[in-house]
Subunit: 412 residues, 4 copies
């Protein structure tokens, strides 16, 4: 656990190492947060949910941080307003670094001497939480850079052009009948992944890989953004109001299609998975393609027992890339994990019998089960060991700035 | 069919007969429409989807109405902007009456001489559509009157004080296992009620009646609107932003609790079902009560085979009233139909294998399957013969102006 | 005074006589009010400021009207929110007519038996107030009708096409040096027209008539709405945000330029004064024309001693028309009164030594002396006997729905 | 000129020297800009208006800066949207420093070898422009710090508590009759200060010093923020909507009144001038005090011939302080320059005969002559040699974040 703690905390800092401090201070929209805030909030999490409860004489680093870095835990106390996080020029980055060091030292001491019985489980939760924020840091930086006419890159070698070709799309039959879904076993999982329960699957065929930029470009060229009949009503209204004509970071320059990436502007790779589409776009594309999005349980059934392998944050690529060739022999989908989070047709709702944990941590997942859709699989910005087949990510259907993509499915 | 046509059309007009014209012109919020608009739009529906297609030489009553009274059918053409419907002082009520008469005459002639094979089914759809707008007229008038310090009534005898007492709440066991849900048989139903399909039900207990004002008042008194831990995050944010402290039409006057009704202000009846609560409030109340909302299939399983009886628009009460005493003997829920629409825990999503109809009428239901929750049962403002066990009503979780109430459920 | 009272009150009602009630109920924007509201508010003015103070036993017609029809008098009490005036379907038009009759009867009795010394002056204020609202009724109806695709007319014969030609523009020299301005004499005037005081005029030349549609069309054709250099910064921002390309009610149809008028759509008359332009447009036009707008005192100096004659509401035309030929001999401007209110270069500020009246009527004019510009002269919708050379009308520079036009001036 | 250039440019940098970079990146509201933006924009001014026109082969530092750092010059080209300036994490502070160095080197070379005849005048304009932005940097930082619960200070010794007492208020008679106002002589002045022209002054009495916190606190205690009768209508509406109860940076803590300053939180000094009030508050206070605000010409007449002395940015205090004792003998006002900008009763409008300069610099002042009020005198954040008696500052009446205060005046 001590090694895990050090490793995960260091990984967060490594993401932004070498960036000019200016990039870590700015909030590009109310949904995003400055990287500096993420660095502090993840630290606050350990202070609030581990050090404070475990250690009677723990002295918080700064009394104001209880509120400044509380994201949304009403039962912990007031929260500095989310859309105003970017106004906090202070504490400085140096002070946030001191905050991290202070908490890391206290955590090291606590882990060395041991603590209450819940300590291990709670620290693990803190580390999984920090991994979630690692991905948020990357999403939020990508959004920030995309606002800037200078088109900065996080890393010059990210999203490097590739000559990989996407394999042809095939349809893989899914399992049917009554199936168990939800997390099984003793490993770490979030409360929202359980209870494990039965569900009923009807015959379906699952796309062998994610939808590519090339496929999505056909939808665009075929008037996909101009044909209301393809869209959910809310999606059409939003697309009109905001003038959508392509995924969030696509743009044309002198007749060539580009997309902004964490490596800066890149010519659009037709073989790479389309990324930064809303649920509305994913749904419209699927309708245009004569298919649909999978339910979260159809997805989970395909992923059960599949090793978590693919293009994750560890590759340093920080952008989706063309799928591997399919395994020889049977029709099994690839690219389930990594590259892009895959929008499902399932609203984010509690599983039967779900109860949030007691106390403030009950606010972690449960209270967001409204107006959101489930995504599965993980992305090129997710840590590999953070993912599993039962993992439920969620965003409102309008969200485009996460690394979101499309997996088609059909009734069989 | 001709009799049905006359009956339903007349019922619409009867709803507003005797009201001063002023009440029919005003739009009280973007979600509501003037009654005059409803009168015209339901007529447009027959013109657009029956008379035009069935009769090559049909002359529309007025060329501008195609757009003025198109609600949301993008494939039919442009729509006069919904939030601006209240700006249309013209056409006048008299002209709208002429419009109705013109279309009614053409419909009478068409029904008399017969038409294409789809005629009967399409007319039936138009009548069911008109019945939906009958309820909307009542909802929208109630909202309009509630904005007015003069507290007008639609009918002096509506929502008359009652001495009925609600029976004690009991818990009725629901059926379990794999069940068929969705519309069965040949009768009329909307596309979103099918296909009929199997679902898996876990053991549950269903409240014997709807939640009463008295029960809800306990929640209010217990700080229900001040305790964030009871609320979904989106609901809490909305309740704070809009300063909710009670259901939409409750208010205090000189120490007494009242609610605005279509009969004007009435002292709050503790035995009547609570009405005009959002999904967020229903969900928070259920959590406070140690229960939850039923899924739409749990609800449907309880209602299957139950006769559609209760307090509907035909009673003229136009307000929910205390539930009937339970049937002797077995534990069966009452008040399933009528009184209040019952919020479920189910997002409004397509059933497995659902496909919207071809053409513009495919926009009727399908494109709204996003960001809404399913309600079941019908209300005191619904026509009785418009309802059935498989009927799926839907509203965004923030909606309070429909006749919405609460049915509790528990895991068994 | 009794005759004046009857005449003015009847004139208000005559404006809307024959209109369908629907037109009198709707509020087309927050700045406008329903005609029904104007009918009641002008009545409230007599009740509040004459009957109540003059008659100890006066019983208000309805207790709720004190607030419902209070426009902006904070010291009288709370006000029903202005942008929500259109939600008041009740009181009905019939009830408002009763309200008017009730107050008229009480006023008749009071005027017959006499009252306190201030009675005459206060009644006169009430009548001038009512005349202001007569013009507001016409402005607000014109705005309402312009929102409607059916393009209704207030009167079929309003704004009838005319073959009058505007005389060529000439420049009339203005008086210079120290001059007295502000109201003089014993006649009625508003508080904001005084105190009479000295001002210093520099040599200037005043356009002999108002700017015509033809002249304004040249500005439009010369890119007037696309050249930022011609505009004040706030005006440019607003014009871009709202997509202005011409005066408020101009539009093109099949290659012909039209404008919406109170007589319905009319081909644009190049000889008639341009109307429904904001201060920003008037200012930009003047800059384009190598001229400027006059100060309010330059305007007043030209109008002093000029008879109040022109195209007023009494003509029934309800739209500006081409100026009369100039008087033979000396260079004197025409069209000073009537046709269009003329934007000046003067901010609406208090005259030296100005003090608002004591009491609630001190709120009539004084508190609006901020963020507004002065207009002079009166329009085709103003009653003739309501106007005079010292009259100061005022609107925010963005306002376009009054009958506003342009008078050019130059340094001499 | 070369020395001036170096001195002014260095003064800008000195303002933020020692601040953590984080403070220079953030934009706290749409009206404010990040200090980094100010540093670059003032440099862009020299590049655009001096180096480019003077030197045919001048190579701009970066092609994107033409748009990124254009504030509002439409005729120069597009402008990066003002409310989004805070999104520009790049260019970094280091790059902006390079930009400044690049332009400073080019300017030094140009000034050494000489240039076109307009060079001196244009460079002077650039330096005066930079001085304006020096004050903006301080205003914007004060606003930023005031948003932060940590209450940072720009300098620990700013706004140090003082034991100076304000002298009693006396009324100083002003000159009357026809007077010359506007800039006279050959010295630098902005276009909006001319042409010099005659105006007519009526007898008035001018407060001997600015209104103090102590005096303003009496207004607050007397219900100043709750009595609508004291306020202009727009001001009252804004104060209600935003919940104003005191000047912008006042707050109570444990029963003591404080204000946020550039030295951090300070107990309110009753002898120091009140600062950070809007025109609306200044006007309401004056009405409460039985006085009024001076016109800009009344102010200028009192200041003519008075030496520019007082509490300016050079003092390092960065906050207003109690006025000096009055000069012995005659009644002459003190504190005219420095401490706080003094709201006048004059709308910001062009002087008679005013014409903006040709070309893009015509946009500097002229296009803002709408919806703003004139302020006179300069503040504790203004450079002393930037001010003069004819200087016209201007802000919308709602502005509170500049160093704005109150000078009372009375009719004599
Ligand atoms: Fe978090
Ligand atoms: Fe409809
Ligand atoms: Fe009025
Ligand atoms: Fe500037």
């Amino acid at each position: 656990m001590r090694a895990d703690y050090s490793r995960v905390r260091a990984a967060t800092e490594l993401l932004v190492a070498g960036l000019p401090g200016e990039d870590l201070v700015v909030q590009s929209m109310p949904d995003a947060s400055p990287a500096k805030w993420h660095l502090a909030h993840t630290t606050w999490f350990f202070e609030t949910f581990v050090l404070g409860p475990a250690q009677a004489d723990y002295r918080p680093f700064h009394p104001a941080f209880a509120s400044l870095y509380n994201s949304y835990y009403e039962s912990v106390g007031p929260q500095f307003a989310r859309p105003r996080r970017g106004l906090l020029s202070r504490p400085t980055l140096a002070e946030v670094a001191q905050y991290r060091a202070h908490v890391d030292a206290a955590m090291a001491a606590l882990l060395a001497r041991g603590g209450p019985p819940w300590l291990g489980e709670r620290v693990r939760l803190g580390l999984e939480h920090e991994q979630q924020h690692q991905e948020l840091i990357l999403m939020d930086l990508a959004h920030l850079f995309a606002q800037n006419p200078l088109q900065p890159a996080l890393r010059a070698d990210a999203a490097a052009p590739s000559s990989r070709e996407a394999p042809p799309l095939r349809w893989c039959p899914g399992p049917t009948g009554v199936r168990e879904v939800g997390h099984a076993g003793d490993g770490f999982h979030f409360d929202n992944e359980g209870p494990r329960h039965q569900t009923l699957l009807r015959p379906y065929a699952f796309a062998s890989r994610c939808t590519t930029n090339g496929e999505y470009a056909e939808f665009v060229a075929d008037g996909g953004y101009r044909r209301s009949a393809l869209w959910l009503s809310d999606g059409w209204a939003l697309a009109q109001a905001e003038g959508w004509t392509a995924p969030l970071y696509w743009y044309m320059s002198e007749g060539t299609a580009y997309e902004m990436t964490l490596g800066g502007p890149r010519p659009l790779d037709p073989h790479a998975p389309v990324v930064h589409v809303s649920h509305y776009e994913a749904d419209a594309f699927a309708r245009w393609a004569g298919a649909r999005l999978p339910t979260e349980f159809e997805w989970e059934a395909m992923a059960e027992g599949v090793a978590v392998a693919g293009n994750f944050v560890e590759s340093g690529r920080l952008h989706p890339t063309a799928a591997d060739p399919p395994p020889p022999g049977r029709a099994a989908p690839t690219q389930l994990f990594g590259d892009v989070w895959e929008w499902t047709a399932s609203a984010y709702l509690p599983y039967p019998g779900y109860r949030p944990p007691e106390g403030a941590l009950g606010e972690y997942n449960g209270k967001f089960m409204s107006n959101q859709m489930v995504l599965r699989g993980g992305s090129c910005a997710s840590p590999r060991d953070h993912l599993r087949a039962s993992y439920r990510n969620f965003f409102p259907p309008r969200a485009r700035w996460p690394f979101t993509g499309i997996r088609l499915t059909k009734d069989a």
